[in-house]
Symmetry: C2
Subunit: 336 residues, 2 copies
């Protein structure tokens, strides 16, 4: 029997199979999340709840749950750990919004706008500590190692991004380093820990890690491309947000590299904060289209998406694998 | 043979015996700290090094080392864990300075002033993650539990303090809750983990925890009193800093509670930010002296100091115990 070769297809893919696959487990994860974000200090659940209940897709815990399904894990340890992963992610978002001075996330006002930066920093710290408490309760040093390392890598990636801010000559490699750290590391860890709790061989850990990591990179690349696609909305973010913040993303890197001297000056001005009008954004969209910078960003995303799919090729076919493949297809198709 | 009863004495105590006791171990801890604050992202060691090399007393790792001496631990596991404790503390300071908008710490410009709030938030996150990596390398789930819990309690305490800010009717109990969480919890954990790595009985863990916790409370109370003592300087902080920030501390709570209606209004205006001139501070000093609020804050500190000393009464006499007793005496004598 020949293994099924999964390839990216053209039909409109959906996240629904994955949502259906993990629905029961996700209820359990949500119960842990709600229980463990409580505190005798009312501001903590109030602020944390705003973000946690705020329409996020729970992408990372979903990956832990789907990975556990893929390898046939039938226990419940991953519920607590998936909640820990979501807490790390939520803490990161709270701190990110402070760092970026963001005022909107998924179409809602950010916590730092409502409660102020100090509260966002401190509740982020609380959730981060709480995530480690959850891991300690589970008791796997291997999981603790994976997630503490991922957390350090995320923070390093954020600092790397901060020092790279407004540098138009960033380069694709450093950009990939940044998103590999700040986005893909937690996707990878979220998948990998499923193999750890299921006590599967190292090769399965590595395969799930690779699935998550490549999916995370693809996800971030598409996210960055969407900013230059006018009818965005799937992400709850508005087109042009990244541009107006002077954020260095792959579409900018490619359009700058491929541009005329005048166009390069335009991009330099833009990332240094001197171009943020609607007309400037319209010009930016024209440049990224003309230079095929968005198309090629999406082509890069498909490359990582295909790698994610191939990483799990060795696992048995079934509903879990099909859902995980389609989740990748969905991630890379969002911008079309 | 009757056990020696250690009591607070009047002679000028010093931290020198404790510094001497742990000097060799502290070199090992400093080596871990310097090694593990490195990163391929240059801003991380640069910013972390500013604070870590910035004249701190390494009070918390010193307590881990002294506690290990007290119980006769001869291994080296506590070096890594003491570094983890210092990283948690450093991360907390970085975030605190962002939260408070501080511009000076120990007489030097704060990291948030030099490198900005975003970098301070993110490098704090990095150090916090790194501290967990160090604990995972040690491999004790019990230590991980103690320190992840302490971290969550610290963050809760910080949020509690934030929501209590500028409330003149805070009350002594809630104030004690706050400093118990934000200061004393890490002192307690720093001491306790020494008993864990040495595999000592639960009662010794509890005794060391109580030593650290009570010392931490005493330490913070004296810190708060010093703000209203004009010839301060031992802390590298200037008299009046807390007052000008409208910070609620025990001297304010007591002076407000004991004041006339006019004086209460003065304190309300002060903590709500409407009284921050030199003349206002001079008046505040007069009020806290007249109401004996500083004296009684220091009396409270001596109470907790005595409890710290009594908590370790059951351990064998010797250089370690004498140094730990004198460290408490030093902590409560700083304001005289």
């Amino acid at each position: 029997m020949t293994a099924t070769v999964h390839r990216l297809r053209k039909a409109a893919p959906s996240l629904d199979p994955m949502l259906a696959l993990v629905a029961g487990d996700m209820n359990a994860v949500n119960a842990v999340i709600l229980d463990r974000m409580q505190s005798q200090i009312p501001l903590i659940p109030e602020l944390a709840g705003h973000l946690i209940a705020g329409g996020g897709k729970r992408m990372r815990p979903m990956l832990t749950l789907a990975s556990a399904r893929l390898i046939g894990y039938t226990g419940t340890r991953h519920h607590r750990l998936a909640a820990a992963v979501e807490f790390i992610h939520t803490a990161t978002l709270l701190h990110d919004d402070v760092v970026d001075g963001s005022d909107l996330r998924r179409g809602r006002r950010t916590a730092n706008i409502i409660w102020g930066n100090p509260a966002s920093v401190l509740v982020g710290d609380f959730l981060f500590s709480r995530s480690f408490e959850l891991m300690v309760e589970d008791g796997s040093l291997k999981v603790l190692k994976i997630l503490s390392n991922a957390s350090a890598v995320i923070a390093e990636g954020e600092v790397n991004q901060l020092t790279a801010a407004r540098r138009v000559d960033l380069g694709e490699d450093r950009y990939l380093d940044i998103i590999g750290a700040k986005t893909a590391a937690l996707f990878a860890a979220a998948c990998r820990i499923a193999a750890v709790v299921a006590e599967r061989p190292e090769a399965e850990e590595t395969a799930l890690d690779a699935y998550g990591r490549n999916l995370g990179i693809a996800f971030q690349l598409v996210d960055d491309a969407i900013d230059y696609v006018s009818d965005a909305g799937t992400m709850g973010k508005d087109a042009g947000d990244d541009f107006r913040e002077g954020k260095m993303t792959l579409p900018v890197i490619l359009a700058h590299a491929r541009g005329t001297p005048e166009e390069r000056q335009f991009w330099k001005d833009a990332v240094e904060g001197r171009r943020d009008s609607d007309a400037d954004f319209a010009h930016a969209v024209e440049l990224v289209q003309r230079s095929r910078a968005v198309d090629d960003t999406l082509a890069r995303a498909r490359h990582y998406g295909q790698r994610a799919i191939d990483a799990i090729a060795g696992f048995p076919d079934g509903a879990a694998k099909a859902a995980m493949v389609e989740a990748v297809e969905f991630a890379v198709a969002r911008a079309y």
